[in-house]
Symmetry: C2
Subunit: 322 residues, 2 copies
């Protein structure tokens, strides 16, 4: 099968072996796969991953190696973590954090930029028919935005700041806007900020962030080590910082301020798919302005070049017409 | 009046001017004042404070400069923060974090190690008669322990670790024990650990903390910069770290782990007095084993020497019989 493989460099392979679903898994024929910032990081050596990259997808279930056949033939999206099923974490509902776990296209498991993937049946969820493939492929990053509302009590009266106008920052601002009147997003890219400004979100250049201790909740989706310090400066005493940025660099942080000002810092990663699909299905979140381009496998190299552009948002690889 | 003053060095003053309560304040005749770790830090230059030190006290209301005279003649303890009353923080319930605020014996306000203090009437709360002076003086640090239960949903099924066997660490372990079956405290001082071990708390030497990712909640009350790193190593994915240590030193911290493991870090400082007094009154928390000694003003120098001893817990200065 055709697949995009990272092994010291990106390779566009025509004859990668088709995977077989192991016990409890489904075989999914991929329609679309999105390029995520994490994928770009992996091509720079992040986590030392080798194999098929990609973890944002929509596809159709072609085969199921399980007694639970309810999703047979259905169009699905899916959670990317597979636990070992036997450790203390897996047995106490922390499968996503299993130390022996696999993560689609990120840790020890071939990913979604291919004609086929396998995933545990329990990871899959049907995409409602009123969501286009091009929208459904946003389910995973949109779920990561909804994760914030699962972890933190976001009140309709909170003043909220999102730092970072990348895809995740923009999606987060749209999700929080659903339950909150007063969202500010701060970034560096005027055209990206304009997309969410239409939805009543205050969009400002990050250089304009002068006022200190102003926000009840600050979400750091800047993807840069400075994000945390900016957040600490801007959050109110008693407020909450949500950390979405994974940056490998360590930085000297004064934690005393965190105690004195009683700040809560919440690390936030993958999220629940159901509210993401529901919001897409109801038209509450419009992801179409985020699509920079859809490229066939034959133009996948061009797609990756485009994805690293400063002005790009979501670049999608199309495996439908192969 | 007699007072213990820090001004480059500790001074035991006999003729300090007696304070006058300003509008809305009460004049409190101090009975007992406790020496806190923060007081010791102040004598080393922490926060650049000059004046009467001390913020843990019990005393009696002698005069009230307010229409609200309900506490007249009552024995009281009291909250240590006074806001400006006019800023955004004060007007939105964040008086404790007022940037122009004063904190008894810590920031811009003479403290409790004297015959008299003044505090806003609204800061004071009556100490029930069934609590001895020597117990009531623990209300402030005990409230700081209860603050954790106000900020974090501590479940009876959580595995909890408290790092640090100083006064605060021990009090925290006793408070959390009230709602939880499985508390471990890790410290370096065998005799201190023995005090709480009697209450069914697992007490271990900090060197024995080998297992990683084991605890749902880790409270860092170690008062050392290593506490946070130890907590990060020991907390479960999805778990919570409560930071009680104020350490001035900055330290390089890898925040990516916080995101990947979805850890929540909660800075925690002063707490509610009501549950602390209720627990003392009901005999749920026995603070008497924490009393290292009660010293009269004439032996206050000796009291401070004793307070810095490695084996000391709470040292109290007695202003009753002056």
């Amino acid at each position: 099968m055709k697949a995009i493989v990272f092994d010291h460099e990106l390779k566009f392979v025509e004859d990668y072996p088709k995977p077989r679903p192991s016990e409890g898994e489904a075989l999914v024929r991929i329609y679309l796969a999105g390029i995520c910032r994490t994928d770009i990081e992996i091509t720079k050596g992040y986590l030392g991953f080798k194999g098929i990259i990609g973890h944002e997808f929509v596809g159709v279930v072609e085969k199921i190696n399980s007694n639970d056949r309810r999703l047979s033939g259905k169009r699905v999206v899916g959670g990317i973590n597979r636990g070992c099923g036997a450790c203390d974490f897996c047995l106490t509902g922390l499968k996503n954090h299993c130390p022996n776990g696999k993560t689609l296209g990120i840790v020890n498991k071939d990913g979604a930029m291919a004609e086929y993937i396998t995933l545990p049946v329990e990871n899959l969820i049907e995409a409602p028919p009123d969501i286009a493939d091009e929208e459904a492929v946003f389910t995973e990053p949109l779920a990561a935005a909804f994760e914030i509302t699962r972890q933190v009590h976001v009140k309709p009266t909170d003043k909220i700041l999102v730092i970072g106008d990348g895809k995740l920052g923009l999606l987060i601002s749209l999700v929080l806007r659903l339950i909150n009147a007063e969202i500010t997003i701060a970034g560096k890219h005027e055209p990206k900020l304009r997309i969410v400004e239409k939805h009543g979100i205050e969009a400002i250049n990050i250089r304009e962030l002068h006022t200190e201790k102003r926000y009840d909740i600050v979400v750091d989706a800047a993807g840069a080590v400075e994000g945390f310090e900016t957040a600490m400066r801007l959050v109110k005493p008693g407020g909450t910082i949500v950390m979405k940025s994974t940056v490998s660099e360590k930085r000297a942080v004064g934690l005393t301020l965190l105690v004195v000002n009683e700040i809560t810092v919440v690390g936030s990663r993958c999220g629940p798919f159901e509210p993401a699909l529901a919001a897409l299905s109801a038209g509450l979140i419009n992801v179409r302005p985020f699509i920079t381009g859809v490229f066939g496998f034959d133009r996948a190299k061009e797609a990756f070049d485009r994805a690293v552009d400063r002005d790009s948002l979501k670049v999608i690889i199309d495996f439908r017409n192969i």
